[in-house]
């Protein structure tokens, strides 16, 4: 018989026979792997969908542009357009000027929850010039003037099909601090084989949007599209060089790839964190598959001996085991891809919400499933199961015949190295060293705490090993209980010393608990820090901004007439008007904010790090920078920072560093009079208002909302609550991921107990014959399971202390640049411990009851 035929025979008669006899176990194994893959896969799909939506905004209309010119600060005046065309001469290049702003759907009621409104991106394009891109279509399509309905109408807007609003109807939006009614002139055309326009995209004719946004004569960027032809690559290089020469450093030139990369870069650290978290379940699953297959080797050793005696080569037996692992991988991968895709539909909203708050506007609402992604999930699952199955396969093929024939040999205590106490110390020391490594700095100012991640791995591993120790210790501790109960004696006999599989189960639980508890410590510390920061900086009675300013990427502002009217209200004692602009430093984008230095000094509204500036600086050349800015751009107090502005680069002295937990990109504060002089733009981002009568806040708010339907006004208490709510919201997905990690670990414990009861089925039969009840067996198993869980829990909590410190002082600090105060959320940790123990107890009792009913001849 050929080896392939023999393998097929072994698979059907040897491996799958066990699956058929114990389908529940096989299913559990597949489910564990599927859950691990699903979590990783759902985060991957959600991340991709969010990034893709960022790209789609720019590419759905103008295709993939060759490069883009923008200003390092503020917008570009239209007067640069003829200069750009002149620089290119007669070269066949399309130039597409673009203006962008944001808007939210107008509602009748007051805004109670930030981010709850439906946000839109309003994109202004030259709808006449855009027709020229039709010439680039590979195949001629039925010709109609697609945008004709939008020409010459100041309020005409084109919407995506996904918005589900028919042409001819109206759309009421808040743009800046006004409520405007736009007429839907048509649907955004969709080309064959190109992505559909996202729901949040609205397109207007460029002059119409310039008028609507009160930004006449301005564009945000110019996209360049080299006309198709055999010399396109050469022309692209030539055009980029020509525009570079013409720019003379005044404009930024980015390729399409750069722009896509910028979205990826901005969120890289965030996505990496999520991906790392999503690996928990997979890593725990990997442990468990290893354990399950290892247990199966133990239980099937008699069959292996028979196969060897029948002349089946060791190599073939090893391959049969790997084939079984492969099968688990394929089934787990397929199921994981399906579950992951379902999970991604939820995850994408959670990821999108955080990206909206912290980075850029994204419209992702669902994640697509592509064949290559399914392939990737399958590959991951197969690789994971093969890795997990490799060692058991090797063991199976190399077991000595004498050992094979010993049917009732118990599971071994596991590798000596893994039981070594020295290894725990080495791992803790290695982690400490890795934690001291500075972050890996990426282009665009992003940092990745590689050393921190290595330390986390080392400490997680150490926690796993520690759990084995604790398990043995618990076994010894519980031994006296055996004097009172035979069942307790039976349980403790399995734990002192614990088998390798007990250790593994405890270790996987320790790993999941450590990460969950560590993250809970981070979140708890973050929340405590935020509360302190809010307490220190939110001192005013009212906070006013555009009703459209719902997230970090909003461009809606208060027009000068509006904020001047509010600031002059008789109820106002003092007001700080904030102006802001995104500016591109050589190391990446950051926020430049114009504020009233006098207000900051008199009201103490800035949370200083390292103390308030002393003496208070002259506003002339002073700047205050946020901690995140310091981390990102490597500047320091007393040094200088050169800020790009429309009036040219301005060098400012850094007079102070402040805490700002609202942005990880970094913020530079300058005196607002300088901001106004450089940017020539008096629209305000927000106004902070102190009232003559602080108790009148609610009354003034109500009056202002009635008088200004396009603004939102928050009282101090309301804004504080909103900031904390949004903060907690950004951690929703983190909690979900960790919950799944713990669930997988508890499932793993269940599988371990099942597996061990199967190993001991002969003992169980004997016990039943001796009159031990089902309840007695269940109690014994429950005690064994609870002790294992407790060991994992204690080790996990111990490791979580280290992990919490690491997350706060190394990973968070290096990635986001925020200093946090350590705070241990004891109630949350106690709740986690109680849940894990209860779940383990319940699972172990159920397994014990099931095990008591095992027939005498049942092997697996």
């Amino acid at each position: 018989m050929s080896e392939a035929g023999l393998l097929r025979l072994l698979l059907v008669r040897f491996s799958l026979r066990h699956w058929r006899r114990g389908p529940g176990q096989a299913l559990l194994l597949v489910v564990i792997l599927a859950l691990g893959v699903a979590v990783y896969f759902s985060i991957r799909l959600a991340n991709r969908a969010v990034l893709a939506s960022f790209e789609r905004f720019t590419e759905v209309i103008s295709r993939e542009t060759d490069f883009v010119v923008s200003a390092p600060a503020g917008s570009l005046p239209e007067s640069v357009l003829p200069k750009l065309r002149a620089a290119l001469g007669a070269r066949p290049v399309h130039l597409i000027p673009v203006l962008e702003t944001t808007a939210v759907r107008a509602r009748g009621d007051a805004i109670e929850e930030l981010g709850s409104g439906e946000s839109f991106r309003l994109v202004g394009l030259d709808l006449v010039g855009l027709q020229n891109l039709r010439e680039e279509d590979a195949t001629p399509e039925p010709v109609r003037a697609e945008w004709a309905g939008g020409l010459g109408k100041p309020n005409a807007v084109f919407v995506s099909r996904a918005l589900g609003v028919p042409p001819g109807s109206e759309l009421r939006l808040v743009v800046d601090d006004r409520i405007v009614t736009l007429e839907i002139a048509g649907l955004i055309p969709q080309r064959r084989n190109e992505p559909a326009a996202p729901r949040a995209l609205l397109i207007m004719d460029l002059p119409a949007l310039q008028a609507l946004a009160e930004r006449r004569g301005q564009v945000d960027r110019v996209e360049f599209f080299i006309e198709a032809g055999p010399l396109r690559a050469e022309r692209r290089a030539e055009a980029t060089a020509l525009i570079g020469d013409a720019a003379q450093g005044r404009w930024l030139i980015a390729t399409g790839t750069d722009r896509r990369a910028s979205g990826a870069l901005m969120t890289r650290a965030f996505r990496l964190n999520l991906t790392a978290l999503s690996f928990i379940a997979l890593a725990v699953g990997l442990y468990l598959i290893f354990q399950a297959l290892d247990g199966a080797v133990l239980r099937r050793r008699q069959e292996i001996a028979i196969l060897l005696s029948l002349g089946v080569e060791e190599r073939t037996i090893g391959r049969a085991w790997l084939l079984e692992s492969l099968l688990v991988g394929v089934l787990g991968g397929g199921l994981g891809a399906l579950l992951g895709w379902c999970g991604a539909q939820f995850a994408v909203r959670a990821v999108g919400r955080t990206v909206n708050v912290l980075y850029f506007a994204t419209s992702a609402e669902s994640a697509d499933l592509r064949w290559e992604e399914i392939g990737w999930a399958m590959l991951l699952a197969v690789l994971a199961s093969l890795v997990a199955g490799w060692l058991p396969a090797r063991t199976a093929s190399r077991l000595p015949p004498a050992q094979l024939l010993n049917r009732f040999q118990a599971a071994g205590p596991g590798s000596r190295v893994l039981r070594s106490g020295a290894l725990v110390v080495v791992l803790v020391g290695l982690g400490a060293l890795a934690a001291a490594v500075p972050p890996w700095r990426l282009q665009g100012g992003a940092r990745i705490a590689l050393g921190g991640y290595v330390a986390a791995l080392a400490w997680l591993f150490a926690g796993g090993l520690l759990s084995g120790y604790l398990l043995g210790w618990l076994g010894r501790l519980l031994r006296p209980c055996g004097h009172r109960s035979a069942m307790a004696r039976l349980a403790t006999s399995h734990l002192a010393p614990p088998s390798g599989r007990h250790r593994l189960a405890a270790a996987s639980l320790a790993c999941a608990v450590a990460m969950t508890a560590g993250m809970a410590i981070l979140v708890g510390s973050f929340e405590r820090t935020m509360q302190r920061w809010i307490g220190a900086t939110f001192q005013a009675e009212l906070y006013v901004s555009s009703r459209g300013a719902e997230n970090a990427s909003s461009q809606n502002r208060l027009r000068a007439a509006t904020w001047q009217r509010l600031a002059a209200d008789p109820a106002v004692a003092d007001a700080n008007v904030l102006h802001s602009a995104d500016v591109i430093f050589p190391g990446g984008p950051a926020a430049l904010v114009g504020t009233d230095f006098r207000y900051a000094r008199e009201n103490g509204s800035v949370a200083w790090l390292g103390g308030a500036p002393e003496p208070w600086p002259d506003a002339g050349d002073a700047a205050f920078v946020s901690e995140a800015f310091v981390e990102r751009f490597g500047v320091r107090r007393g040094g200088v920072v050169t800020v790009p502005t429309p009036a040219g680069p301005q060098t400012l002295r850094i007079a102070g560093v402040f805490a700002d937990y609202g942005s990880e990109r970094g913020t530079v504060l300058i005196e607002r009079t300088r901001f106004l002089a450089w940017f020539q733009d008096d629209a305000a981002r927000s106004v902070i208002v102190k009232l003559r009568d602080p108790d009148a806040a609610e009354t003034v708010r109500t009056r202002w909302l009635a008088e200004n339907p396009g603004v939102q006004v928050f009282t101090n208490a309301h804004l504080r609550a909103e900031v904390l709510r949004m903060f907690r919201q950004t951690f929703t997905i983190t909690y979900a991921l960790e919950g799944i990690g713990v669930a997988v670990a508890v499932l793993g414990l269940t599988l371990t107990l099942i597996s061990m009861l199967l190993d001991r089925h002969a003992d169980l039969t004997t016990l039943r014959a001796l009159g031990v009840t089902r309840g007695g067996i269940a109690r014994s198993t429950a005690l064994e399971g609870a002790a294992t869980a407790l060991a994992g829990l204690l080790a996990g909590l111990a490791a979580s202390g280290l992990l919490g410190w690491l997350l706060i002082h190394v990973i968070n600090k290096q990635t986001f640049g925020w200093t946090l105060l350590l705070a241990v959320p004891a109630p949350a940790l106690l709740l986690l411990a109680a849940l894990v123990l209860l779940a383990a107890l319940a699972a172990a009792t159920a397994v014990g009851l099931w095990g008591a009913n095992l027939p005498a001849d049942r092997e697996e």
Partner: protein, 373 residues
Amino acid sequence: MKPIRPLLLTALLFLATRAPAAEPSLTPDGFALPQPGRHFVFPRDHGSHPEFKIEWWYVTGHLFAEDGRRFGYQATFFRRAADRPKNAAAAPAGGQIHLAHMGLLDTKTGRFLHQERVNLEGWDARASTTTLDVHNGPWSLRLAEAEVMRLAGSVRGDAQFELELRPRQPLVVFGENGVSRKGADAGAASHYLTFPRLATTGMLTLGAERLRVQGESWMDHEMSSSQLAAGQVGWDWACLQLRNGQSAMVYRMRRADGTADPFSTLAWVSPEGRVRHVAAADFSLTPLGQWRSPQSGAAYPSGMELSAVEPTTGQRVRWRLVPLARDQELTGRITGLAYWEGACRILDERGADIGSAFLELTGYSGDLRQGLR
């Protein structure tokens, strides 16, 4: 007249108003109408005349590479005043629409490349009012020095040309007393200025090839506000450059019943630039056959026969204008209106090649009125 793009024609068909019996100077919507005896001043009158509703600069020519490889090309710049917007705040800058077409025929491969471009007047499209200086995207036609023009054009990324056009003959003005009539309506007329012979040199990049070329071009500059009459469905137009130094321009306005409008015209231009007009009754322009476009489905004449009395000999001649390639149709991807405009050779009764021509055939691709809706 010089050919006008179907879009503009159609627009005019809609917008044209019945002219009053007396010779008006303005259309009802305030645009200028061509006036007899106008004194042209150059270079100003090579530039744009926004007081007229429509204007175009139209260059067609025949180019030869150093190895004798032959090309036909077309470069057209149109300007048209936009309809008055309902809201002045959203009015396009300058209130003008600029449309342009480029075409290139490579006779070696038979490949005809073409592209159209539309922009509102502004940073990417403009026409000077002081001299010849028109731009549309990367395309431009401008007067570089006394009567020497520079043309920069391309057809997508496939072809690019930069040409210098130098007059061999003086500028001629077609029409009676400076006014070229197109129909029975008094307002249906234009000022029609032409350089019939332009020595052409320059560089042509075709694919990865870079070729030095030379040849001869024809350039029209025409301005009007309402030059077409109701009932006209299209026209056939040609310019002829004969080896004997003579040139000719001919158009046949086609009416809905298939007959030629009486305002159709043939104009002979002597080597010295003297113009002699021939009335519609004294010449004929007859299709030679038919070619159906695989793109638009339109059936165009596959060449034309011109029958007229040749002024230098006084003999009636029957010359055939034979296309260098059948497919020289501009399919109008943006405007959606197709027409045929291509390089031809002129064959006499004996089949001898006696010169080069450019032929334009419009109104064969469906109902122009539908195209604009």
